[in-house]
Symmetry: none
Subunit: 234 residues, 4 copies
DNA sequence: GATGAATGAGCGTTCATTCAT
DNA sequence: GATGAATGAACGCTCATTCAT
């Protein structure tokens, strides 16, 4: 199938390791310079392997792009659940999810833009697979929203639309990074946005929890955010 | 300067006409297939001119991209003021501006995505020029917001942030068109979004006007929106 | 015939005038940058005419080269007899001829090199024509030599070989101009060379005349030679 | 530096071998047709390699020209010392040097002309390097002259001027090959020229040696000269 | 007669991909 | 499994030449 990326090498650990090297290099280079402008030679060089080796783990230059984009999307899918571990309060979980999402994006702005810029360079079926991955991320957010609704913390809302707006707002941090970067931390940015978006949604009973969560210092800073300014309560 | 695109032909009308042909073809092709994948030969062919002719009006392939992106951004700057002509009520003007913005985007989804995808392929100074163009569009929206604030229709708000959210929301129609396209018209999409975003912002006195404007059928459908389904009141 | 350069314009004075403009520009540009590197556009620009005009007086880019080379060679054929006018003494005529030759070359070093560099770019028959022109120049020199021989001023010599050496010596001023230029004037250069070459050739009776002619200051400096240092008698 | 020609392949033997192939083809083609008229494809074809391969050993077309010209000049520098090996008599060495020079030129007339025709196509620094190479060749000749002077075989002469004349005379064999080729061998040509040029220079004591050397049949014909006619003693 | 916009063949160069070692 | 030299299709771009005005 066009979806499969075939490797001439069989040993799974080797495939994992080599592809890891290659993709790391590729994501950096594609993210910085763009996919089409980056040559396989450059990727090989940066990954400290030979050109030939790449073609043992991948059939195509396009395969590299595909794997790279999948890897970026997967990193979102790994990070968000990680941030949720141990949290039980729905409001807390919701906020944690959004912040986790924002932070992965902030940590890899170029990679995020890469997804936006180069998804179209892929064939139809692979684009669909990527879309599915994105929907999975969204699901993590909308699950958190629905939990809040069920817990009576949010009004009954158009969950899909709200999810969509939140996700777009997170992505916008990367898409328009020149606008707020340097002036705001990702966390401050998210809090301001959430407050605006949730105002009409949070129930009176949810409001306390929301305020508490939103205004407390970020629980786990993570390596993603370098500077952190005190968030000013709206 | 790197910003200037020089033409070997002097006659301004000819430059206008030929560049028009070339850019139309380029925007279509770049929008559909991507910039790097599209050859100058393809552009020439689609514009029904010879390869050589393109190079009489442009110094290199990157110039074509630059002019294409400028043209797309300029079309926004042309359309929004057009939609405002004759309108005096601030609320009406605000809504008209947003809907006009949304409609140009809807009319040229691929072109909008093109801007997102390929701006990075340009050199620094040209990227800055494009950013300036975008800020001009945003200004049109934020002016409309401020007028509403002055008229007491909106609360005093963080105008910059609100503008930003609205703009991103419009762009999102293109960026995530697969999500709502076919299920919603651009106007319905905008109304739903605006309602969500403005809820905490509109003053009681503004509310009547807002509802009136937002729920009436789109005044001038324009050529942008093909299908139009009745908007369901939220 | 391939030798003919056809003009679309009939009026001979016009052809003369226009070709003059074109060739002046062409010789300058070809001489400085080389024939292949120079575009017809550049020639047109420098000649202050349009590209199209050139093609009314010439069929080909190669035609321009051909005419240019002919013009250079013809200028030699014009200058040498001019310098001989009024002179009757064979020895004087001989020296005048050589110096005249040297001076045209000095005056148009680039043009002379052009002939060496680009003759091969022409088709066979035209190359032959050029060769014939060169032989005509040589004839002027060898005629002068033979007159000296007949007058008993030179021994009976291998006239052909001597002519050849003198001609090459003149050309060498252009071919290796970096070697003596600035250190010697063309006249000093010629005198030194002639003395060396003629030593075994001049008869005792010729010697007085030779010394007299060779060591007197150049009769007509001409515009060609800028600096002029007193020739040191060998 | 602009002087260096960089190769993407590191292995020195391979570089040597491949460049050898490429340059052989290039010198032949450039020599026959001219540099600008010859395409890289033609060179590749004649060298029996692919176009791409050339660009692994050279950065651009101009590099090929540069290496070609250097190779031609170097072949002079290799051949002359070779012809001197084992010879001790200054007069013998002088004649051997000149004949060796003449023979390499005769063996590669087109290559010699190539140097004259295309040196100007190179950038300044490379042109200087070539000039330096030529001066090295000249040095070999002038060293031989000076040895003769020291041995009392030549009068004290303007060594520089004499060297220059001899060198030009050798080059002239190529530059004006149409004149004597077929009628004279290179050796006969050289002997005649030398006799003329050296007449006023050779001392009585040197004369015997000179005549002996000059009129004996060429010691080592070498592969350079194909036809050989008996030299007629002057 | 003169112009210069338009054409398109053809060149230099790149780079994804292969395959002998 | 890994290497990197070799290939050649294909692209961006130039420029001699034409021809409508």
């Amino acid at each position: 199938m066009a979806l499969q990326v075939v490797s001439k090498v069989e040993v799974p650990e080797l495939v994992e390791k080599r592809r890891g090297q290659i993709l790391k290099a590729a994501i950096e280079l594609y993210g910085r310079q763009g996919y089409h402008v980056t040559t396989i030679r450059e990727v090989a060089h940066r990954a400290k392997v030979s050109v030939g080796l790449i073609y043992q783990y991948v059939a195509d230059k396009e395969d590299v792009l595909f794997l790279a984009l999948v890897e970026v999307l997967d990193s979102y899918l790994r990070e968000i659940p990680l941030a949720l571990e141990g949290l039980t309060d729905p409001m807390e979980r919701f906020c944690a999810a959004v912040h986790a999402y924002g932070r992965v994006i902030d940590a890899r702005i170029d990679a995020t833009l890469l997804v936006y810029r180069e998804t179209k360079s892929l064939g139809r079926p692979r684009r669909e697979l990527l879309k599915a991955r994105e929907i999975q991320s969204n699901q993590l957010i909308s699950d958190a929203i629905e939990a809040c609704v069920r817990a009576g913390l949010f009004d009954a809302v158009d969950v899909e639309m709200l999810t969509y707006m939140i996700v777009m707002f997170c992505h916008a941090w990367a898409l328009k990074s020149w606008r707020f970067r340097g002036r705001l931390t990702i966390d401050a940015y998210l809090d301001r946005g959430l407050k605006l978006m949730l105002e009409p949604v949070v129930t009176p009973s949810g409001r306390r929890g929301f305020l508490a969560v939103a205004s407390r210092p970020a629980a786990a800073p993570g390596p993603a955010t370098k500077a952190r300014k005190p968030r000013r309560p709206a």
